[in-house]
Subunit: 605 residues, 2 copies
Amino acid sequence: MIREKYARLAYHRFPRTTAQYLGHRQAGAALPEEGLPEFHPPPLPEEDPYCLDNAPPNLGYLVRMQEGILFVYDDQKRLEQQEPHSLPYPDLETYTVDMSHILALITDGPTKTYCHRRLNFLESKFSLHEMLNEMSEFKELKSNPHRDFYNVRKVDTHIHAAACMNQKHLLRFIKHTYQTEPDRTVAEKQGQKVTLRQVFDSLHMDPYDLTVDSLDVHAGRQTFHRFDKFNSKYNPVGASELRDLYLKTENYLGGEYFARMVKEVARELEESKYQYSEPRLSIYGHSPQEWSSLAHWFIQHKVYSPNMRWIIQVPRIYDIFRSKKLLPNFGKMLENIFLPLFEATINPQDHRKLHLFLKYVTGFDSVDDESKHSDHMFSDKSPSPDIWTSEQNPPYSYYLYYMYANIMVLNNLRRERGLSTFLFRPHCGEAGSITHLVSAFLTADNISHGLLLKKSPVLQYLYYLAQIPIAMSPLSNNSLFLEYSKNPLREFLHKGLHVSLSTDDPMQFHYTKEALMEEYAIAAQVWKLSTCDLCEIARNSVLQSGLSHQEKQKFLGQDYYKEGPEGNDIRKTNVAQIRMAFRHETLCNELSFLSDAMKSEDLNI
Amino acid sequence: MIREKYARLAYHRFPRTTAQYLGHRQAGAALPEEGLPEFHPPPLPEEDPYCLDNAPPNLGYLVRMQEGILFVYDDQKRLEQQEPHSLPYPDLETYTVDMSHILALITDGPTKTYCHRRLNFLESKFSLHEMLNEMSEFKELKSNPHRDFYNVRKVDTHIHAAACMNQKHLLRFIKHTYQTEPDRTVAEKQGQKVTLRQVFDSLHMDPYDLTVDSLDVHAGRQTFHRFDKFNSKYNPVGASELRDLYLKTENYLGGEYFARMVKEVARELEESKYQYSEPRLSIYGHSPQEWSSLAHWFIQHKVYSPNMRWIIQVPRIYDIFRSKKLLPNFGKMLENIFLPLFEATINPQDHRKLHLFLKYVTGFDSVDDESKHSDHMFSDKSPSPDIWTSEQNPPYSYYLYYMYANIMVLNNLRRERGLSTFLFRPHCGEAGSITHLVSAFLTADNISHGLLLKKSPVLQYLYYLAQIPIAMSPLSNNSLFLEYSKNPLREFLHKGLHVSLSTDDPMQFHYTKEALMEEYAIAAQVWKLSTCDLCEIARNSVLQSGLSHQEKQKFLGQDYYKEGPEGNDIRKTNVAQIRMAFRHETLCNELSFLSDAMKSEDLNI
């Protein structure tokens, strides 16, 4: 019930079945799509994806940040009277109460035992289902015409744009630029123009001799439990100059090289036809210009692809900016991140590029090394962002709350104008404290990684009941935090958690040209997944993604938003109806146990 | 010493280092290439690979089979006098004595303890080497210009031609033929011509609706320990008509479809540039016409590719042919397999096509389910092939001896004429009795699988000392006999056994377009192999292969046939010299232990 409240406030998703058992919704929603977040459908083939016309007019609203949250006022008068525009605004006190409620729940002995047992039961039940129905499922798939694992839609639900090409691709691209334009000016150092040749000369390097070994961007045994080493792998040949030149959107070339490589990756996806991806681009929050510069990059280099939908990642590195005196307090960082979005939403006419770019952005991610410990414990006594001036980084849950709070207000404002909304999809549970997963349980539409659910039966069961999508990347984990064979993906899938497969960083982790297929192939081989398993994961990935309602109808079936077998069109998903029925019945069974218990408790009182 | 004798007799390979410690050879061979098998270099770009001219003249020799072995006579008179041409001929008695010697050795308690300890030591020594030198190895590779894992040569050392395309490729090809030529006559049944459309009509199937699921050629959980089910997966849609039409060299279309698919696979290899493969084509031995028909297929459809070298596989299915009365005895099967080769070697003029085809054939494989038990125990009392008339299949070791014996005579005859020789490269140790590995220790140049070496420390140590190449296919094993995580490849590699990676059957086991890269990628990920490990395996694969001396010099370095670091050209192989030195020193150390022990034993006596 707590999660449902937070989801509703932010236009996040909450499963109808679960809502029904909670008694909070009617069996049939008035409109079939009600409760779904809204994303722009992709432009039609005859439309120009970069068309800047038809931006809605300026509403003239004013926006002010108060204690880390942006408030919207209809006009100057309302601002002076402190009467914000009628939108739901978050309340820190309620949030901290909700947080501590869940924290208490996950450490409660009897609850732990109950959840642990239910999860064991779910796993055994699936094994039984598999033994009894494996052949029937496969028979269903064999008689399903024209559709197989290769031509069901798959979305790479978690991938960083700066590492979306594989190491060989980056190497080839670097060599190609050097061959074709060695004398092009590509940087400026202390007022001096620097050509590409000079860049490589200063590194004492001939790109002809460059190899994936000397490029050294691939994670290996050395990166296990060393996120710091992993981060530095983003520097080709260990040189940050090359990272700036090839993997950034802001540089002397206006991010041209990076855009070209991303577009090459996009062309490959388009050719493959059935693969989509949701790359993350960074907004750091150290300057209010970042958004307009990013939007400009996107439009100038024509980076749009029908097979890509964009996510904005915000690295949790306030401490670095603060110690470099780039920011006075944490509130300023939040303002740099969110104010431009409010402005573009209120006045698209004067922010046409950003307004356009936002059509292709479907969510926010929060990224960094989760294993870093924080001394601060977030509570309603914590300093608010405008007075968080210390050089210490705020803790994970603090970041998540303020990201969520601003996204929530923004989404409500955008929804009012009929504009698309955003999903909050943070990295969570890759490492570090289990409380991260509690924060995300409230604030996130879906998460990336979720490994640590393994350690908390209560949270795992809650994530199951709320069917929170989890984008898992076992190859990434294998290089960083958890050996492949110990990865819980197979176990989560069996229990019925809503998992998808994603690549995270093909540049660092993958060997072949088709990183997502490599990810599926290895999972299939190591865990002996059946075709039905693979297609279920692929279907999950489309559901989890920010693809529009129209696309999801095309890829999964007209009624994809319905739960259980009626929401599945086997002709499009290649998931057996037997499997769908099993999943739905199992979930209903778990929920009815709980709702029956709640009813009998009501009677006892 | 026993293996060295058998290797020398058949022009198989034996490591110089080991030979040296055995004291059987001088430190430096007279000619650098001496002792190497001879393969034809590929035709030059300006040469016609199908040119039938310049076949050597007829020597007029006569060939007769005696007790399963082909004997060559200079003329009729010598034949009558039973004076065969001066070639080494095998001797069954010696062979059975040697076999029982090794069999006694592998069960001898103290020998087992010794070998077990040495193997443990080898493994620990490598761990130590890794801990101490991993970074130095990587540093060597990083400073090695232009060469990395992607552009070192890799040979797929074990792959069956009939499954060399992946399932998606086969599916696409079937659909394509149906779209472009539905009305072509593709078969004849009871005198009636049958079009492609009619074939699919009779199967009640529209190829448009066909999927990889309904094609059903992929191995899965159902095939584990079920070689029979695995074999039937070769029938697309379970229909042997489609196997005949698409995956056979002999049919109404003269194997055209199969040839076209194989050529598509070859084009992909040529484009990848660094990948080679050694596909197996079948000779069954049920008819003496098989060879000429196979050679005709090869030339008519122009199947030659510089990136493929061919191996002939002989399925061990005498029992099936015998029960169908296609063969009177086992000797006839051997005659059908080998007599055409002797004839083409003695009189190439009159067997031009086969003579040409044999230039591209570099070895023989022996294939079938090794887990099938045989009641018969091979000894010098066993009935010889000409009187093996029972419907029972001869045991594995019987097959291997007679294959080896005939290849050995043939190789000596061909060497005399300056023609290429063949390597015997049987499947061995995939399942079944450990004695298979004893037979192969004597008769094989190298083997495929070798899994069961895990179970016999003595044999494993012998395979190590003799550096017998082993083509391993962990993904194939994972679907058939052994879970991926339990596969001994990593352990064998660490100990220093001469292992390579191969795909076996991409159609049945792999998901991506690049099956060999998938194999390397999964091994690298699951076992966290370093770049140096991967490049060592790739180098092993080239050494193991039937690529010519000239190609090996080009791909591995001028002195590739030398052992230890001097045989390694890091600029071509990307294998660190530190690794090469470690391997060589370790082998020398093991050998010197043994030779010292032998010497002191001599003194004691």
